[in-house]
């Protein structure tokens, strides 16, 4: 009984890890080039595109719950990790692009010119000049998005049953108490929040920046 409970916990723990890491990494692969382009090669429309991306984040989830549920059912994506990874990636993509954009904006363009004057090619510029300067911003974005995806509790509750259920959904299954379960609930809850509370401590500053879309620094 205890063993089974424990193996259950790890099953959901790994789902949480896979979903938050998977969606964050895929999201970064898509968001980094976009933020890069907007920061270093801005056009007249860059600002409009950024604001439009922001506005997609404001779409309430219930507005698209029904079609997403039906699409997922028809494609066999209900209760799968890959389905949740796609959704998490999409809902966090605007935050990722925005956060990366505000960080990349702070890399001075003159450094690029200086490197170019010294004879650096585009490839060298990327590897030796820009990447080291961009890494802190990318790392902060990674951290914040893992936290957001780990704690997300609308789509994870609505699109999973058991196979792909992450910790949010696993903990919710304790909502109808049966007998003595306080110890179990406490243990499961502690284990579910510990990793992310620790990550959160490291990312307070980035949190402000990411969640206010750069409006408060």
């Amino acid at each position: 009984m205890e063993v089974q409970a424990r193996s259950n916990y790890f099953h959901h723990f790994w789902n949480s890890v896979a979903i938050s890491l998977g969606s964050t990494v895929i999201g970064l692969l898509i968001a980094v080039p976009a933020a890069w382009a907007m920061a270093f090669s801005p056009t007249k429309r860059t600002k409009d595109i950024l604001l439009w991306m922001l506005s997609t984040k404001m779409l309430p989830a219930v507005g698209v719950l029904v079609p997403i549920y039906i699409i997922f059912r028809d494609l066999g994506l209900l209760d799968t990790r890959i389905g949740l990874i796609i959704i998490m990636m999409l809902i966090n993509l605007p935050i990722m692009v925005w956060m990366l954009y505000t960080y990349f904006k702070e890399i001075p363009g003159e450094i690029l010119e200086a490197a170019r004057m010294d004879g650096a090619t585009l490839g060298k510029e990327l590897v030796y000049v820009l990447t080291p300067m961009a890494i802190p911003g990318i790392a902060s974005t990674l951290l914040l998005n893992i936290i957001l995806a780990w704690n997300e509790a609308f789509w994870t509750l609505n699109l999973t049953a058991s196979k792909a259920a992450p910790l949010t959904a696993f903990i919710a299954s304790y909502s109808s108490p049966e007998g003595l379960f306080y110890a179990k609930l406490s243990a499961a809850s502690t284990m579910a929040i510990a990793p992310i509370v620790i990550l959160g401590w490291f990312s307070q500053k980035q949190l402000v920046r990411g969640l206010t879309f750069g409006a408060v620094k």
Binding site: I30, P33, A34, A37, M38, F40, S41, T43, L51, W52, M53, L54, S55, K57, M58, L59, A61, V62, G63, V64, L65, V66, P67, I68, Y69, I70, I71, L90, L93, P94, V97, G109, L112, E113, N151, F154, L157, N158, T168, I171, A172, Y174, S175, Y182, L185, S189, A192, I193, I196, V197, L199, Q204, K205, L207, L211, T212, G214, A215, V216, K217
Partner: protein, 290 residues
């Protein structure tokens, strides 16, 4: 630096994000609009038929709908008031130099990182439970009759839980804003004989005005979609006393399988959120210029 070459490269780099978000926004949303005009139940496949505005009429004449709208507004308003007032107080407090500042700050911020289902369940079972909860023991110790929070004052209880979750967010942002206040200005006012209250009203609060607006707008967006806290504590009940719009749409869709009705509710939620979003986007857009 910007040549045609780099511009087309830039467009290529932006394309995946733009296309994905465009699809994410347009495809499901237009499906929702389409469904909202159908008589469509998932349990009766193949019987879909055009229904005109029937779903909207059904929603707009359902007393549960108005209660849900009212509950949504109470929840958003109550939590906003609590978190902004509490956030200002905590930010002022945390900005004072004191012993163990780092630890205190971490403890204040921690609730934000607790997943909603965990915090709701802990509040429900360990604090608000009428038999075993901490509040009940406290009440009995003081000689009062313990109350069953989640069945007698469900909406207030849920607002309390949600406020506890969002207080750190408000505190963190207001503290960040407070730290950018120049010490000299404050000191100059002090020299001129302004007392603490006057400094708060005339210097500190105006300085934080923008941060407060940002907190209000962003929290509103998230608070309009409170869901998990309701699901694990009251299931929207008793009756529909703690059902907000998000939860009502969820019930219509995944418990009653009424696709048409749920879609109409979803569209109404989108319209409500957009009213807030317009202000937020405009404000952040202005910020982008300077």
């Amino acid at each position: 630096m910007a040549t045609t070459h780099t511009h087309s490269a830039a467009r290529l780099m932006m394309a995946p994000s733009v296309i994905l978000l465009l699809l994410w926004m347009i495809v499901p949303l237009s499906m929702t609009v389409y469904f909202s005009f159908l008589r469509y139940n998932l349990l009766m496949p193949g019987t879909e038929s055009f229904a005109g505005f029937m779903n909207y009429r059904f929603f707009l004449t359902d007393p549960a709908f108005f209660q849900a709208i009212g509950n949504t507004l109470i929840l958003v308003g109550g939590v906003l008031f609590a978190t902004v007032a509490g956030g200002i107080a905590l930010a002022l407090l945390l900005n004072q130099p004191m012993f163990g500042q780092g630890i205190v700050r971490i403890l204040v911020i921690a609730p934000f990182f607790v997943m909603p289902t965990v915090s709701a369940l802990v509040w429900k079972n360990m604090l608000m439970n009428p038999v075993n909860g901490l509040f009940a023991s406290l009440a009995r110790f003081l000689g009062f009759q313990p109350i069953d929070f989640l069945s007698s004052i469900p909406l207030t209880s849920i607002s309390l839980i949600v406020a506890w979750q969002w207080l750190p967010f408000a505190t963190l942002i207001l503290l960040t804003a407070l730290q950018s206040l120049s010490e000299e200005q404050n000191e100059a006012a002090e020299m001129d004989g302004a007392n603490a209250w006057n400094r708060l009203i005339y210097i500190i609060l105006p300085h934080m005005a923008r941060a407060i607006t940002v907190v209000v707008l962003i929290e509103t967006i998230f608070l309009l979609s409170v869901f998990a806290e309701i699901l694990v504590t009251t299931n929207g009940g008793p009756g529909t006393e703690s059902t907000n719009l998000t939860y009502l749409v969820y019930m219509q869709a995944l418990l009653q399988f009424d696709v048409g009705g749920a879609s109409a509710g979803g569209i109404i939620a989108v319209i409500l959120a957009n009213i807030v979003a317009i202000f937020l986007v405009r404000m952040i857009g202005k910020n982008l210029e300077d």
